[in-house]
Assembly symmetry: C2
Homo-oligomer: 707 residues x 2
């Protein structure tokens, strides 16, 4: 999308969310989709013009009704399409003729039905929007709401619409029933309010990324809560997510598809192609999008991110009115951050208040002092403690207690969050806290996840905040080589040359076709050497005895050459043999693997792990979507459990992590440069030598696609 | 504890929870601990006699007050002690003289303070209870409540005590503020009610296990919710937990101490010694205790366990009013169970209702039909589907909807649970559901954990339900050997003999002290052989080159013997050398490790893993507290991630799992039989041969303790 196109999209979304007039095609008297749309606008006291369209009514809910779009007295800013499936295209064409610029299609029954006919009907909508320039939200959505301006262009059942307050979180959600259902209900339980609620449905035109981009540029929006079934255009999403990161507007999201049943469900009901769940995880990590699994988790994490500054160090002070609550908090927090002891002066300050009751340690058990005036002093002591990067208070009490907490929060630059230990139905104390800048949690599990999210978010943000706001992801290197134009695996020598041309170190080596060549190569490389039969048709060389290691002399090389040559010349693959690779023997490092796979939805995905059992049985590997940058590769290397092996395990020297990072970056460049030519690439193994000694790809399998 | 002693304890707890009269020593007019205790009894309309004791009052809250225990007109069934720390022992002695049989000590300031003086004061309470036979709850607790009979013997602040209903869950909690605070508040939010609420404090006499035992034998109690900071007597706990398992009364628990901060907090505030958290995890797994991390999680899991029958197969049908909710549920459920497609007839039944809307797959998206009469038919179709072991419904609606759901649940033998997608503050629909037999969840995360808990609970219960209700844990074998009476490591040969005497297979072998002996041994064992210097002072033989493998002839044995003998005779450890072990070489198996460690709180703990990097770096090992039974060792073997390696990885033959199980059982017997003599034992490696070929301990380190 060009900047100009993006600008047009933003203008149209602006109109959609701030229409001066709305036509409701399919408005009805009964409170079903069409009736609810009209009713919501009326109940919320929409101040623009409403044009219900229904040929069977003169008037609906006291509003004059029109038989069709063409008879409208003006061109409405927004058309809501709530007609039977079969009539959708007809009314859209009418809208286009009238000059309507934006539409929300509530009507369902398109690609989500899974039949070819319905997929074609959805394709026709795509054609329509490209052809006419009318921008669409949906189909199969529930509509959109601009909460601040009380414009509820949606078919959701919202009996208490008048009491819904506006806030600073924008909700962008592929599931309409989730947006106006659990997301809205749970947010209101928490005293969290939305600025916009946008359900995107099948996203035939405008998609989640478009709406997120619009929202992050609105000053009233501080954070995005999103729900994805699939991301159709991952490049656009990536760009938008990074814009959000640069603007400091966190995106907290649920993404369906962790399981095959979830993927099936997502597929069937929005008809979107889903990519590998692990690749989505990677993409979110790379873009600072916080992925969680539950409405409550997402909302609570957004609340922490929006309401308080980042933890300036990874340590927390804990205070509660009960030892039991304090312990529960300490247990959870210490799985994520440090829970260090307070300094002597803080301790003495607490002791002066507690006078021997409870505990002045961390966690602090302040007993009934939590309910008294001195809570303010206690919180100030904890918040001023240098050892603590933030403070968590676990208690529940009166409005007076709430005011003391809010007062302490207002005076600090550190995050102060609260675990509410009372009823979630409580009003006393809780309502005040919920409407304050103190993020309130109800369960230690959710609190723990939110703290983790906050630390990660601010860490990635710091990385991206250097200089001009962005450090560029590694650019693609120009390719100086030809990738063979045949389908299937490359030879080993050409694979290594390809890696080498992208700056990935490989051992010295060359192909020999005779004993003499072999001996001369070995002499020039230096002993010991490794010998490998190089044939694209024999990828599993080791199993076939076509690899010999630790050859120390011309004689050994000669014997090995003769034996291997004989063995392969009788095999079926003999015609494809390129020669025997004589290779420098790389010793004393740690073997890892890295590779590139193509995800159907997200493109080239980079894999890193320790290989063998670690990768295949223990699933201890990390992924990132290409291209990657330094932050990504550092995270990739550190997030595998086996990282400790690279750090130096049982007296082994630490591995050259810098070389490993560089190799991953180069491999990502290769992936981007060759994405049209290469379907799969595995370096197995890459030997990571001790610090400052580098890393070398000693074997590789590269599969070229038919050109 | 003998059965008689246990019987006496049960009688006394019966009195404590059903007292006909209660003395409140330290009753006061102000609503602090003493005043609240009196006030709670009055507000809850306690029907027995109340004797406030306070020399400064004639009357308190309209009740006649006494100056001291001795002036009471009768012997109260229960004495509440709410006096300053210093007076505790004086009033207790007075109670004993009066003949009071049970007491609840609210007073705090004992061992939880951590000073020697206060620990001694707590020790004095122990002496007192042993000496006088008066049974105590506390100190440092908040009291106990018999909710059914409205006897609230507690100092908690409970403004709405009259509205608290009685239910079938007993709450036994080491933290008083947690019991009467978040546990009670969150249970009430959920419409879950307690039969008893017992806060045990420092447990100077009666402990959590005693109260749990009492509760599980009460017919009105269906489940226990517990909160532990430490388990003082793990044998007693184990016995009680297994009784609960046999009775089918699930224990769902929080145990503090996952982190060191949590452990510190637990230590400081109940002054209990904590064991290793992982060992507690193991103990809970072995006894069917469901361990979770949060009040909400614990309560929701208890609700599922109490309200519905077990899932008769590991598969679930999912139905929701929205595709988004359906997907979210499917994603979470499929991480735990299967989410299989429905049969054609179910699908057709659903289609007949949905008529092309939504989805008749699994998960089923039933759109607005969730809010109509036909929900009953839909639920019946799902519940009658053979492919589903149970059904989860995600929606939120009116009282009418709730009645339909409850009706369907009443007619099925399968579990039907609900994910409530509305506000947690809702009354409409939700209150009816909460008071029904349908367990209601509010988050998919918690639902997932509860389903997992239920599956595990019923699996372990099935194991224990054979024949006479219990399969005996493997008995200790009689020891036929002498463990050396010196402190420190045993020699390798004696270690292997010790293992062998407990039925653990070891390779053929013997100690040689001369070349001739070595050669003769090797001949009789058969080649190849392994040779190892056997010295308790040289546990790291391999690193020192004191192990030779794959020796194929007398000549190789001779050379090896000479070389090893020379190398060791010059070393410092030469005096402790027992000889050179000539051992059968075991080939072609998978190496694992197993061992025994002593946990300070829970005793002998059995460890199993794949050894090396798997155990040390990836922490992929499993633990169980000894003794273990077949269920335990099967779980131990299956729960490590590396289990797949044992099943046969990359064409390798599957390992002899049965032999592995037997070895673990035998090692547990050894641990129990030698717990006084052995502090540590490691078999490293045990070689597990292919199926039916057995498993052999080829090396071991056993450390004897000073006798």
């Amino acid at each position: 999308m060009t900047q100009q196109q993006s600008g047009q999209v933003m203008e149209r979304i602006e109109i959609m969310l701030h229409p001066r007039s709305i036509a409701i095609i399919g408005a009805s008297a009964r409170l079903q989709y069409g009736g609810r749309f009209l009713n919501n606008l009326l109940e919320a006291k929409y101040s623009g013009s409403i044009f219900p369209i229904n040929p069977r009514h003169e008037e609906l809910m006291g509003v004059r009704c029109y038989p069709d779009v063409s008879s409208l007295p003006e061109v409405p800013d927004l058309a809501a399409i709530i007609v039977p499936f079969e009539s959708t295209m007809t009314v859209l064409e009418e809208c286009a003729r009238k000059g309507v610029k934006t539409g929300v299609i509530i009507t369902a029954g398109f690609a989500e039905k899974g039949t070819d006919e319905r997929k074609a009907a959805q394709e026709a909508l795509c054609d329509f929007t490209r052809r006419t320039g009318m921008r669409l939200c949906g189909p199969n959505c529930l509509g959109i709401a601009n909460v601040k301006d009380r414009i509820w262009s949606c078919s959701a059942a919202l009996p208490d619409i008048q009491t819904i307050a506006a806030g600073n979180i924008a909700l962008v959600c592929q599931s309409g029933a989730s947006a106006f259902g659990p997301f809205l209900a749970r947010a209101r339980d928490r005293g969290l309010d939305f600025s916009y609620i946008i359900s995107t449905g099948n996203e035939v035109d405008l998609d989640t990324s478009d709406f997120i981009r619009y929202c992050i540029h609105r000053p009233e929006v501080k954070s995005i809560v999103a729900y994805f079934e699939a991301i159709r255009d991952s490049d656009k999403f990536r760009t938008v997510a990074k814009e959000a990161l640069a603007l400091g507007k966190p995106i907290v999201a649920i993404k369906i598809g962790r399981s095959s049943a979830g993927q099936r469900a997502a597929l069937s009901h929005t008809a979107s192609m889903t990519g590998s769940d692990q690749a989505y995880d990677a993409l979110f990590k790379q873009t600072g999008v916080i992925r969680l699994d539950d409405w409550d988790e997402v909302l609570d994490a957004a609340s922490l991110l929006v309401k308080v500054p980042p933890f300036h160090k990874k340590s927390i002070g804990i205070v509660a009115h009960s030892g039991g609550v304090a312990s529960l908090l300490a247990d959870k927090c210490e799985q994520i951050v440090e829970v260090p002891p307070p300094s002597d002066s803080t301790r003495q300050g607490l002791e002066a208040i507690l006078k021997g009751r409870g505990s002045s340690a961390n966690p602090a058990d302040i007993t009934w002092h939590a309910f008294e005036e001195e809570l303010v002093d206690i919180l100030n002591l904890m918040l001023n403690e240098d050892a603590f990067g933030g403070v968590i208070l676990g208690t529940a009490g009166s409005d007076n207690q709430a005011k003391r907490i809010i007062g302490a929060a207002e005076k600090t630059q550190k995050p102060l969050a609260m675990l509410w230990t009372g009823s979630e139905r409580e009003v006393k104390g809780l309502k005040l806290l919920q409407s304050s800048q103190v993020p309130v949690f109800y369960s230690v599990e959710t609190l723990g996840k939110a703290i983790k999210a906050s630390l990660y978010y601010h860490r990635i943000r710091e990385y991206y905040a250097v200089e001009d706001g962005y450090r560029k992801a590694t650019a693609s290197l120009p390719a100086k080589f030809d990738i063979p134009k045949r389908k299937g695996p490359l030879g080993l020598m050409e694979s290594l040359e390809l890696l080498s041309s992208f700056g990935i170190d490989v051992p010295k080596g060359g192909l020999a076709h005779s004993v003499e060549e072999a001996e001369n190569l070995a002499d020039s490389i230096g002993y010991p050497v490794v010998m490998k039969v190089d044939s694209p048709d024999l990828p599993h060389k080791t199993e076939l005895g076509l690899v010999k290691t630790g050859l120390h002399s011309r004689v050994e090389v000669e014997n090995a050459f003769r034996e291997m040559w004989e063995r392969t010349s009788t095999s079926e693959a003999s015609t494809s043999i390129r020669g025997i690779l004589i290779q420098e023997m790389v010793e004393g490092g740690i073997e890892v693997i890295m590779g590139i796979k193509k995800d159907p939805q997200l493109g080239q995905v980079l894999l890193f792990g320790l290989g063998g059992i670690f990768t295949e049985v223990l699933k201890d590997f990390s992924l990132r979507v290409c291209p990657v940058n330094e932050f990504d590769v550092q995270e990739m290397i550190h997030e595998i459990k086996g990282f400790k092996i690279l750090e130096g395990f049982r007296g082994k020297a630490p591995a050259d992590i810098a070389a490993l990072e560089k190799t991953l970056l180069n491999l990502s460049s290769l992936a981007m440069a060759t994405k049209e030519q290469i379907t799969e690439l595995d370096i197995n193994p890459l030997i990571v030598l001790p610090q400052n000694k580098g890393a070398m790809a000693v074997d590789a399998l590269i599969v070229s696609r038919q050109s």
